[in-house]
């Protein structure tokens, strides 16, 4: 087949940022599907519309997800993308790889698909982008034999993902990589065989900087924190002061709870421990001088999600502090109760946060057996409309 012209996409090969068009063209040298993808995309640039249909039918044996069906709506003109499915490959915790691991994936993908990938998709999975239905099972079998597995898609547990954590960050307050791997391994049924009202996401961040945006996009956000006080190294404070850092202006004045006092004379920084809200600001500015406390764990928050249906929610606090030590029994027991409650009460396509909002936070807490604490709210209710339980009413 003669190559079609793609003048609009060619324009996107110019400029300093690496070009996805160049990447598609590299794959197109060896693969007809990649070539048709390029041509179909040029068509979209002409038509100003997408040309894909959804199809939820494809998959591999034993799995209810991990594959997203895609078909072009112009199969006659672009026959090599008539079927162009996505496969989600569950990535290792914090996306650490050996080159040989990545090469194995490349070799499998070169044989069975377009040669195009997303490293990584928003879910955190490594995405094989574009394959025919007939290749799905073989590709899976080779992945499985090489020690890989599929990620989640559909109304299931989605692939948990985590920040770089203790592997390379001094702020990590718990082992995000291990929690991610442990939960992924423990919940294979929930990950691979969708059985719920809708999707459910775990994301683990080692501190309140939240480098994987857990609070914005996970139904259960596990964010590292500490219970005692930050630790300050006064020698390092002096070193920062001597290097020219405006400690009063950039650290103390920006502390949201005004919990830091700087002594200009002595070049010493002191914290009013009970006023500190553990936001990470001072630690971010002076990582050599200020560190998290020693009594570390995580805050568990629930309900985060994007806009559809009831608006975007940020996760809110459910457990202010939980020790995070293997085998994470406390977390798992709580999660089991929450999943049961959601599964029992949730409407189809209702995320956990929306369900709690619809049924009421107090009802949720009562039914899953969590104690109400002031850390759960910014401020208490302003209305007096308490739904009093019958057993608290004098009869």
């Amino acid at each position: 087949m003669p190559d079609k012209k793609t003048p609009k996409l060619d324009e996107l090969e110019h400029g300093p940022w690496p070009s996805f068009v160049t990447e598609i063209k590299k794959a197109a040298v060896r693969n007809e599907s990649a070539k048709d993808l390029l041509n179909l995309l040029e068509r979209s640039y002409d038509d100003k519309r997408g040309h894909w249909k959804h199809g939820g039918i494809v998959g591999v044996r034993g799995y209810g997800g991990g594959v997203i069906g895609r078909y072009t709506d112009l199969p006659e003109e672009y026959p090599h993308v008539a079927e162009f499915h996505t496969m989600r490959v569950n990535a290792p915790s914090a996306w650490f790889y050996k080159t040989e691991t990545l090469r194995t994936l490349c070799d499998i993908w070169e044989k069975h698909g377009s040669g195009l990938t997303n490293v990584h998709g928003s879910t955190g999975d490594l995405i094989f982008l574009g394959m025919k239905t007939e290749e799905l099972q073989t590709t899976y079998d080779e992945l499985s034999d090489a020690g890989f597995d599929l990620g989640g898609s559909g109304s299931c547990l989605r692939s948990p993902s985590c920040c770089v954590g203790p592997a390379r960050c001094e702020s990590a307050c718990y082992d995000t990589l291990d929690v991610c791997y442990d939960l992924t391994s423990s919940y294979q049924d929930e990950l691979h065989r969708p059985m719920w009202p809708y999707k459910f996401k775990f994301k683990m961040s080692g501190c309140a900087n939240d480098c994987v945006a857990a609070i914005a996009r996970a139904d259960c956000s596990i964010i590292g924190t500490w219970r005692d006080s930050i630790r300050i190294d006064q020698d390092q404070v002096k070193a920062y002061a001597e290097s020219g850092l405006d400690i009063q202006g950039m650290v103390c004045d920006k502390c949201p709870t005004r919990a830091l006092k700087y002594d200009h004379e002595k070049k010493e920084l002191h914290v009013i421990a009970e006023d500190c809200s553990r936001c990470m600001h001072c630690i971010n500015v002076m990582p050599k001088a200020v560190r998290p406390g020693k009594e570390k764990g995580a805050t568990i928050l629930l309900g985060g999600k994007s806009t559809i249906v009831q608006s975007a929610f940020l996760s809110w606090v459910i457990v202010p502090f939980m020790k995070m030590e293997p085998p994470y029994t406390e977390l798992k027991e709580m999660v089991a109760k929450i999943w049961d409650w959601w599964d029992e009460n949730g409407k189809t396509r209702e995320r956990l946060g929306e369900l709690i909002y619809r049924m009421g936070m107090t009802k949720f807490l009562r039914e899953v057996g969590l104690p109400p604490v002031p850390q759960m709210v910014f401020r208490p209710r302003a209305n007096p409309y308490v739904f009093w339980p019958q057993d608290e009413i004098v009869k």
Partner: protein
Amino acid sequence: MSKIDGGPPDYKKLLPPIITENYGQWKYHEIPRAGVLKHVSEKGDTLYSVRVGSPRLVSIDYIRDICALADSYCDGYLRFTSRNNVEFLVSDEGKVEPLIKELEAKGYPIGGVGNALSNIVHTQGWVHCHTPATDASGIVKAVMDDLYEYFGRTDLPAKLKVAMACCLNMCGAVHCSDVAILGVHRTPPRVDHEKIRKGTEIPTLVAACPTGAIRPDPKNKSVVVNEERCMYCGNCYTMSPAMEILDAKNDGIAILVGGKVSNARTAPSFSRLVIPFLPNNPPRWPEVTAAVRHIVETWLNNARKGERVGEWIERIGWERFFSLTEIPFTDKHIDDFIFSRETFRTTAAFKY
């Protein structure tokens, strides 16, 4: 038959030795130059991470190329970040400069660390999504080309995180970004009654609508859409190709600003709508790149050191943001969805 439920590869077997040896024992980090992190452990080991922006949609040739680099400079270990960057993990300080030289020679952008523009996280767009209102990769390429200089800097007022989602399902947490570029549909689905009659299960289609805007129409063996209730999510189109949501004449881009996920200083917050609509103008979306640059430059010129976009705007006030940027404020900016009241100003104190 291959086994199922093997789970992902064990991360412990994929960590470079320097990380295994210093796991949980990192003491502090520095940013010796743009795009490079230097981590020092309690026992004095030093690890350099050189961060490179990728287009996210990459070929296996690209992956093999970065693997070759990681073999040469990092003993065969590398990682990726949540924002589509590659991180080369260099334990030998002497290899940092040669690696950087080779990366620069090959055109790999080094940056995105500290107070810099980080790589744009984005969705599939016209490349592979079925309900997109725009492309994602193309706009990201155009915006990153335009803002390229800020990726390799470390002297911005604060971090700058830009995100792009191709429809208002807002996949990928774009709703908490300093600048969010969002594909928007503006017209309700157009019902192809013939297609519906051919094979759509009507009760499932009706149930798919989150706002209850789709009703059965038994007389026509089809459905009707209450257009006033439609929020253009495209769920019905997912259920049935007879519900055409794509509209080349009306689909386009909205810009939201001022969100963040970090708890540092201020609570995590949503991005807010500042430009309700810009046209789809491929391949380079000049209206979008100009709008993003204008907002970023206004922030650069006006923010105090340490202020993320949202912190800057909250300090000066949104009314001042609109006057400083000269972005027209319209009825589209005022929320009329379900949680709108909290955005109304219930004080007589404000600026002009």
